[in-house]
Structure formats: structure tokens, C-alpha cells
Amino acid sequence: MRKQAMPTTKEPVTPAVEIKNVIKRFGTVTAVDNMNLAIKQGEIFSLLGPSGCGKTTLLRMVAGFENPDHGEIRIQNEVVNHIPPYKRECNLVFQQMALFPHLTVAENIAFGLRERRRPPSEIKKRVMGMLDVVNLPGMENRYPHQLSGGQKQRVALARAIVLDPKVLLLDEPLAALDRRLRKEMQGELRRVQQEVGITFLYVTHDQKVALSLSDRIGIMYEGRINQVGTPVEIYETPRTSFVAKFMGGCNIFSGKAISINTTHLEVRDEHGLCIRAQTSKDVKPETVSGISIHPEMIEIIPGDQDLPSSDSIFNTIPGKIANVSYQGDFTELQVLIRSTGQKVTVHLNRRSDNSMSLVKGQEVSIHWDSCHSNLLVG
């Protein structure tokens, strides 16, 4: 038999979780509005959004505690819509941890294995192994009320992972922890995920956690996905004004866009202020709703210095400093653009901008390269 040539292109890999056209209503409220999402095998995917955006509802539908009114949920290409939670191959780490108070740490972790009628020797081995993975050696006979917050969280994690689920669902597990512990647990989560390789679906409202933990982020708002991308994409190039505002601190200039040339366009707001941005041939100017620019990307040119020569690829706008706020690692300025009344937030880095002494009321210009202008659609 002749050997067939190996295909040079990769076969499409089955997504770990697929949400297809899912709708969920509670009475008159639509919690999840025709959502479509595919989560890749082995990635940490964060669903990020404000309270009430429907992310927890979606997570509970994947876990099996709610049923979609419409659409399909697939786990590894198997439709699970009507499969009860105890038969689904996914496990949930609860926000309140929900450890069983009358069982020891070992018994808590062993719970699912006992339900599966695994032999005691296997259960013991896997439980002890899991205690090592989450870094809790020697705690097997403690009770939940004897554990600290971080320890409880590790037990909750171990209890879910020991069952080797196809996807691990996490419902804001770090929300109940204080800031220092949160940072530590973030590192732990990443380490554990890399060690066991399970797909994580992580739900949170905390942008910082999502940025540092995820391989990809999906921003959710009012039951719909607004944007999906890597943390770099989501932060540096938000596509909508909601995403820009939600990720924090962005300055937004709304207005109509007109092309200047093949590489640049200009957005003119209601006061006539023009902001320039780089563009590509895929972008249609009529779809652009505005421009966003991060505070840390803006330079300050004190009023007495010469403005750089009028170059079409820079944005330079005169204004007055309305407020100076020292934050330690950076200084936050509010610059008032007199012609529009808009206040622009600027962050000056301690290392690079230390030479400037700026006071309230000083005349300055804000200045940035148009390649840092981010186009917003919708």
C-alpha cells in the first residue's frame, strides 16, 4: 500500500468548550444574549466583565446548574445541554470555596473519587498527590474551619482538579482574599495549571487578575461578548469604548472619522478637535466611533518649550494642568483642553519624566505619536 503524504496543515483542534448561540432569560431579563465563544484546549480563558453582565450565569450553564433557553453548549464536541451537573466532565471552584465543614481536608478532596467508587488505595494515592500539587503537605486531617483563606482555596482547587475534568470552571475564586494573598494565589493557579494542563475557564470582574493570569480574555457586557483577545490585545488595542473604559484609565475622544491618506485618518469631535491615528486598509472610516489613548502613552511638553515642527503623524494639543496627584511610582495629571472642556489623564513615569516639575495651572501641551492612537468601533 502506498504511503500517503502527511498533511502539512494542522487539523483543526477540538475546542475544549464551545458556546453556540446561547440565550438565557430570567423573566424579563436577558442574562445571556446570543453568545458565541470557543475556548481552546489547555488555555486559561478569562471571562471579564462588570457585575451583572451574565458571566456567572454562563459559567453555571457550562457547569450544569442552569439550562440555556436556546443554543448549545459543547464540552469537547459533546453537546451537554441536558446532562445534569453530576454527570458532566467539568468541575467548579466556587467563590465561597464551599468546603464541606464536617469532612477533613483529605475527605473533601476524596469526595468526588468516592462518588466514582474508586478503590480506597487509589483514592489515598491521588489525594496525597494532589496535596503536593497545591502545596499543602501534612494538612490532610485538618478541618476547613482550621484553615486560612488561602489554604481553603487550595483545597477547593485540589478537590476539583483531582477528578481530572475536561475543563475547570473558576467563579472569581480570589475575590474573597486580601490583595497580598490574591497575588500569591494567582501565581499558584498559573503554576498548577501548567503542571496539570487542564483548560481553565475563569470568571472575574478584576481586570488586573485577568491580565496577569490569562492566555486569552473575553470581555462581557450585558450578556454579550464585546471583544476576545490576548491580554496585550485587550489592553493595548481595545475595540470598543466599553472595553477601553472597563480596562481602566483610557482617554476617549469620540467623533467622526475621515481618511487623510492611505495610512492615517483623523477623528473630529463635536468641538472640532482633531486627533490623528494610524489605520489600515481593513478599517472603514465610517465604522470608527472614536479614538482611545492610554494615560501612560502621552507626553507632556511644558508651555515654554518649543513645539515640535508640525508633523502629520503626531498629536499635539495645548491645555492647562488642572490637577497633579502623586502616586509613588507614577504621577497622575489631569490636563484641561480649553477648546473642548475635556480633561485628559496623563501618567508620568518616575524614571523617565523625573526632570519635570509641574504645577497646577501650568500651561502645557499633550503629545503622542498617532501610531499609539487606538481606533474604537462601536
Binding site: G64, F65, P85, Y86, A98, P101, H102, F111, E115
Partner: protein
């Protein structure tokens, strides 16, 4: 020390004396040699020995025990199921059902008792005796069980049930392994309240017992009608000791469960 604290102390002591005096009198006179048990005439244990020989008393006592045991088991089981439904399900008229559950307890005992008597005679083929007494007791104690267990359910974190289901347990298994054990102090508390209540009950039992089926309280009543007897004091003393033991047990169970952070 300030006069206010002294006043408080005196009032407390008087209150305790008021509560415990009758009880202490009964206990003391159970050891008195007086034939009617109403005066002190010297220490004796004869009435205790006499009780051991009295067949009618044993008969009544065993009947009370059986009835109380069955009542406890059935009403705690019914109470748990009812509390579960009332707490977790949403249906029309739920509030109405929840408040009307207390009706048997709120109504005067005599009213409940006579209503049950009429019901048994007219509406059922049952003869008055064990079955009717037990049913009547269940009618009265199930609301109590529902009340206690419902209270306990407020302290249950239902995330535990969801966590158990997520880990592979069906709802029934989750109940067996997680919710049940957590509810146990509530169920035990209900049992500890219902058992003495059922054992001690007079009015309802008197109405629906029929002929020849005496429970211990009914026996004591019938004895008292013939003139007081020290045997009554003895039975009273034993009653008191038993009830005290039940309550202590209840408190112990509560304390242990609180220590586990539940």
C-alpha cells in the same frame, strides 16, 4: 457592691426558687414514708420498690415509650422533608402553608384533641388505641420538627449541595453525604424536643386513647383521682431526671456542631 446588683441577685434567686420549688418538693417527697406523699415522715425507698412491682405502671410506661419513639422517628422524617420543600421550592401559597404549619400548636389542645377524636370516630375505620394516639402525636409534633429544622436550614450554605453535585453526587447522594450530616444537629434538636413532649402529653392522648390504652400521664391522672399516692412522686422524679438528660444531650450536640464551624 451596688444595690442594683444585689436587687438583681435576689430577684434571680427568687425566680429560680419559684421554678424549682415544685420539682424539688416532688423529688424530696418521693423518698418520704408518708402514705399519701404529702408530708415528710422519714426517709424510705419503699415507693421506688413498689413501683418496680406495679404492672400497670410498667404497661403504661412501655406504651408511652413506644408511642414517643415512633412519633419522633416519623415526625422528624416528615419534618425534614417538609422543611426541605418549604425552603427550596417556589410555589404559590408557600407563605400560607408555612404559617399554617404552626396551627396545631397554636390552637388550644382541647380543641385539637376533640377534633381528632371526631375525625377518628367518624372519618376513619380505625379503632381508638395505638394507631390513633400515634397519629395524633405526629399531627402535633411534625410542625415543631418543621420549625426547628427550617431554622437550622437557614444556617446551611446551599453551595455545599451544588459543590457535591458538581463533584458527582446526585441530589439524594448530596443529601446523604453533605446536607443530612449538616442538618443533623437540627434533626437531633427536634427529636430532643419531641420525645419528652410526646411522652408527657396528656390532653390529646386522653381524648383519643380509647379504653384500656393508658399511657403513663393518663395513668398518673387516673391514680390521682383516687387520692394522692407517693408512687406519683416517684414517677414524677424519674420523669424529671429523664427530661433533664435529654436536654443535656441536645445541648452537647449543639456545642459540638458549633465547634466545627457550622
Amino acid at each position: 457592691m451596688s444595690p442594683r446588683i444585689w436587687f438583681l441577685r435576689i430577684v434571680s434567686i427568687l425566680a429560680y426558687i419559684f421554678l424549682w420549688a415544685p420539682v424539688i418538693v416532688i423529688i424530696v417527697f418521693s423518698f418520704s414514708a408518708n402514705k399519701f406523699g404529702i408530708r415528710w415522715e422519714g426517709f424510705t425507698m419503699q415507693w421506688y420498690y413498689k413501683l418496680l412491682e406495679n404492672e400497670a405502671v410498667w404497661d403504661a410506661c412501655i406504651r408511652s415509650l413506644v408511642i414517643a419513639s415512633v412519633t419522633v422517628v416519623v415526625s422528624t422524617a416528615l419534618g425534614t422533608l417538609t422543611a426541605y420543600g418549604l425552603y427550596k421550592l417556589k410555589f404559590r401559597g408557600k407563605m400560607l402553608l408555612r404559617t399554617s404549619i404552626l396551627l396545631p400548636i397554636v390552637m388550644p389542645e382541647v380543641v385539637t384533641a376533640s377534633a381528632l377524636l371526631v375525625f377518628f370516630i367518624k372519618a376513619t375505620p380505625l379503632t381508638l388505641g395505638y394507631p390513633t394516639i400515634i397519629i395524633a402525636h405526629i399531627v402535633f409534633s411534625t410542625p415543631l420538627a418543621v420549625f426547628v429544622i427550617l431554622g437550622r436550614m437557614q444556617r446551611v450554605d446551599w453551595a455545599w449541595e451544588e459543590a457535591a453535585m458538581d463533584l458527582g453526587a446526585t441530589r439524594i447522594r448530596a443529601f446523604r453525604r453533605v446536607i443530612g450530616p449538616v442538618l443533623l444537629p437540627g434533626i437531633a434538636g427536634a427529636a430532643a424536643l419531641i420525645f419528652p413532649w410526646s411522652f408527657d402529653d396528656f390532653v390529646i392522648t386522653y381524648f383519643v386513647a380509647g379504653i384500656g390504652n393508658t399511657t403513663l400521664p393518663v395513668y398518673i391522672f387516673s391514680q390521682l383521682r383516687h387520692g394522692s399516692s407517693p408512687v406519683v412522686n416517684v414517677i414524677g422524679t424519674l420523669f424529671i431526671l429523664f427530661t433533664l438528660a435529654s436536654l443535656l444531650l441536645f445541648m452537647l450536640v449543639e456545642k459540638r456542631s458549633r465547634a466545627k464551624g457550622m
